[in-house]
């Protein structure tokens, strides 16, 4: 049974890639093709599939502070 995160719709860039998301607190960018090495997120994870506890690796802001 998939959890709610894995069935959430995924925002995409114009070229079809999963969207890059920007932290409104510090400007740090989550790029799904890079993941978040500091947060043990491997490449390939869309922003919408990050676990609930994931926060901005640079400033600590929660996911609600991100936009794309």
């Amino acid at each position: 049974m998939p959890d709610s995160a894995s069935i959430a719709p995924i925002a995409r860039e114009a070229d079809g890639r999963p969207a890059l998301w920007v932290c409104n607190r510090c400007g740090w960018v989550y790029d799904p093709s890079l993941g978040d090495p500091l947060g043990d997120i491997p490449p390939g994870v869309p922003f919408e599939h990050l676990h609930d506890g994931w926060i901005c690796p640079n400033c600590g802001a929660e996911q609600d502070y991100f936009f794309h």
Binding site: V22, N24, L34, L38, N58, H68
Partner: protein, 642 residues
């Protein structure tokens, strides 16, 4: 460069006794007390008063009463003080500025009005070179913009798509710097209208590039084939002042302004190291090609520098001083060596980044002010390696030396400076927990480094100057150049310093190591960011918890502590920012009777917008959004603060 010198007695003693505490015990009675409590060299890394019996009396020399330590819509200051809002976003700066109308903003108006998100503040006395405290220039950085709070109808989620070209132009005009002439009469500060010194600097101000990277091929663009003229400055966080009366403003998170795919450029590796990934926090690249790295791959190389401004000359062309290196400069703090050379300290504000120092080759000439304008163009940039034995070694970033050669992609000193982070990686610099402000204490010659937080430090990465995993509250590191101490001359040009931790911030249960009497007589803080010293050498810290403000339940604001004596690291709370703001720019007048602070991004929260902000500070008027503003704090009785 190596400067052989006889070892000071303290160093010899410390080496012989095998304990850093020995060094301290030679210096002063208060230091000796601390070292007795320290125990071992390893423990000397932790503050030495941890574990002492609770104090019956307040050992701090700071005697003000604290305001309520709670988050509120309005700001609050210590009882017996007043906090005057001096100037707000949109207020007039340059002659001809129209009255601020948030519903009808134009870039032309904003170019004459006080910019957004004030950060660094410097009080520069008038006349130049004096220690006047009633009349001077207030020099203020405008770090960044929050479109969703500045303009009606935008939200966090849609601002990039919906912003208009004129709104972007307003944002670009709201960045940069303001110079204001201000005067204090009967204890009240006022901006002098139509002052000849008044000036706004923005993304539209032409700036010169100087130093070893000036004219470098990697600084050239279609608009500037010379690589020597840049339009504007941005993300000016903190800064510093020079002995010759100029202001240094630091370009910090410049990576966040650029769109376009960096992988499609010849600068892919360099852009990646600085954090450019092809998505901007701003919508500027939709309207301006220079913010699209696919169209102008070298434009990002023209930011990330320290910019020098002469506030006393409104016609002065600001200069980007490339000799100080390119990274996310939080600030640029100077100190003068006894022989007239000048030292600049600067932190690179990102998790796991470094601390840098620049030492000029030339000497300051106090009799000829203008002769000092090129001093920051020639000298040696170095980066800090902290060792676990309590020593710090400065590693020079000099082209051709060590790994900084063509084999590693460095064709000249310009490459070393443009890619200072990569050069520092190769030299083995020590990654820190977001180095923010770095300031020299004029009373004891020591250097204080604010390390604001790093939630990504893992247990296996703990050690040395970074003793805490998942460091949510940050800490303050104290550096001692040889010769530091009251009434002595610290050798800020030395190749090796000593370091120790002044305190770990947070609550006790978070592992805080502030003075134990802080719990009774002081207050806890989180995320130290900027700082300054009063005339007695006491440390005044501004905090920026970011989104953690709500989680922690305490406001950002001003805190202060002794750094010497029995009240060392006893943190007290002095001023509270309004809700969702961070505190920046603490700056005293020379007489310490006024403390200027910058309230940045009041109301910045995930659901907060122009239309429905989380606070309307400082106006609290319907239709008026929250406005970043400068606050002048003074005592009711007019005596020095503290």
């Amino acid at each position: 460069m190596d400067r052989p010198a006889s070892r000071p007695l303290s160093e010899i003693a410390a080496a012989r006794m095998g304990r850093r505490a020995a060094l301290k015990s030679l210096l002063a009675g208060t230091a000796a007390l601390r070292s007795l409590l320290a125990g071992s060299a390893a423990m000397a890394v932790a503050p030495r008063l941890a574990g002492a019996a609770p104090a019956e009396h307040d050992p701090s020399t700071l005697t003000f009463a604290q305001p309520p330590h709670v988050i509120a819509d309005d700001h609050q200051v210590a009882p017996g003080h007043r906090a005057q809002v001096l100037i707000r976003w949109g207020d007039a700066v340059a002659e001809g500025a129209p009255a601020f109308d948030p519903a009808a903003q134009t870039a032309a108006a904003q170019e004459r009005q006080f910019g957004y998100n004030n950060d660094f503040v410097a009080f520069m006395p008038l006349p130049v070179g004096s220690d006047a405290s009633d009349h001077g220039l207030l020099c203020v950085n405008h770090e960044y913009t929050n479109a969703e709070l500045m303009f009606p109808g935008l939200t966090l989620k849609d601002k990039l798509e919906r912003q208009t070209s004129e709104q972007v132009a307003v944002e670009m005009a709201a960045h940069g710097h303001s110079v204001l002439e201000i005067r204090r009469q009967d204890g009240v500060w006022a901006v002098v209208p139509a002052s000849p010194f008044a000036r706004r600097i923005s993304l539209n101000t032409a700036m010169a590039v100087s130093g070893p990277a000036a004219g470098h091929p990697r600084l050239r663009t279609k608009a500037d084939p010379s690589g020597r003229v840049v339009m504007g400055t941005m993300n000016n966080c903190a800064g510093g002042t020079t002995p010759w009366g100029t202001v240094l403003i630091a370009e910090e998170n410049f990576d966040t302004y650029f769109g376009g795919d960096p992988k499609k450029t010849p600068e892919a590796d360099s852009l990646a190291r600085i954090g450019i990934k092809g998505k901007s926090r701003y919508g500027w690249s939709r309207f301006h090609d220079r913010f699209d790295v696919e169209k102008e791959p070298f434009e990002p190389n023209r930011f990330g520098w320290v910019v020098e401004i002469d506030p006393y000359d409104p016609t002065f062309t600001p200069v980007k001083r490339t000799a100080l290196g390119r990274f996310k400069h939080e600030a640029a703090t100077t100190t003068l060596l006894p022989d007239g050379r000048v030292v600049v300290y600067s932190g690179d504000d990102e998790v796991f980044e470094y601390l840098y120092r620049f030492v000029t080759k030339g000497r300051y000439d106090p009799r000829n002010r203008l002769a000092n304008m090129g001093l920051l163009d020639e000298g040696t940039l170095a980066v800090a390696r902290f060792d676990k034995d309590g020593s710090l070694t400065w590693l020079p970033l000099v082209w051709g030396a060590g790994p900084l050669t063509p084999a590693n992609g460095f064709g000249d000193q310009g490459d070393v400076l443009i890619d200072a982070r990569r050069a520092a990686d190769l030299l083995g610099a020590t990654p820190l927990d977001r180095p923010e402000d770095v300031e020299v204490n004029p009373a004891n010659g020591r250097v204080y480094v604010m390390l604001t937080n790093n939630t990504k430090r893992k247990p296996e990465q703990v050690g040395g100057p970074s003793p805490r995993a998942d460091n949510r509250h940050g800490h303050v590191v104290e550096l001692s150049p040889p010769g530091a101490g009251k009434g002595r001359r610290a050798r800020h040009d030395a190749d090796r310093f000593r370091w120790e931790i002044l305190f770990l911030a947070g609550r006790r249960e978070d592992g805080a190591t502030t003075h134990p009497a802080s719990d009774r007589f002081g207050a806890w803080l989180s995320a130290p960011d900027n700082c300054t010293f009063d005339n007695r050498g006491r440390l005044w810290i501004s905090s920026d918890q970011g989104s953690a403000q709500r989680k922690n339940g305490i406001p950002d604001g001003m805190y202060a502590c002794d750094v010497d004596g029995p009240g060392r690291a006893l943190t007290k709370f002095f001023y509270a920012c309004p809700r969702d703001a961070e505190m920046c720019g603490p700056a005293f007048t020379p007489d310490n009777r006024t403390l200027f602070v910058a309230v940045q991004h009041p109301g910045e929260d995930k659901a907060s917008t122009f239309d429905q902000p989380s606070t309307r500070w400082p106006d609290f008027t319907d239709g008026m959004p929250p406005r970043p503003a400068i606050v002048a704090i003074s005592r009711d009785d007019g005596q020095p603060i503290g």
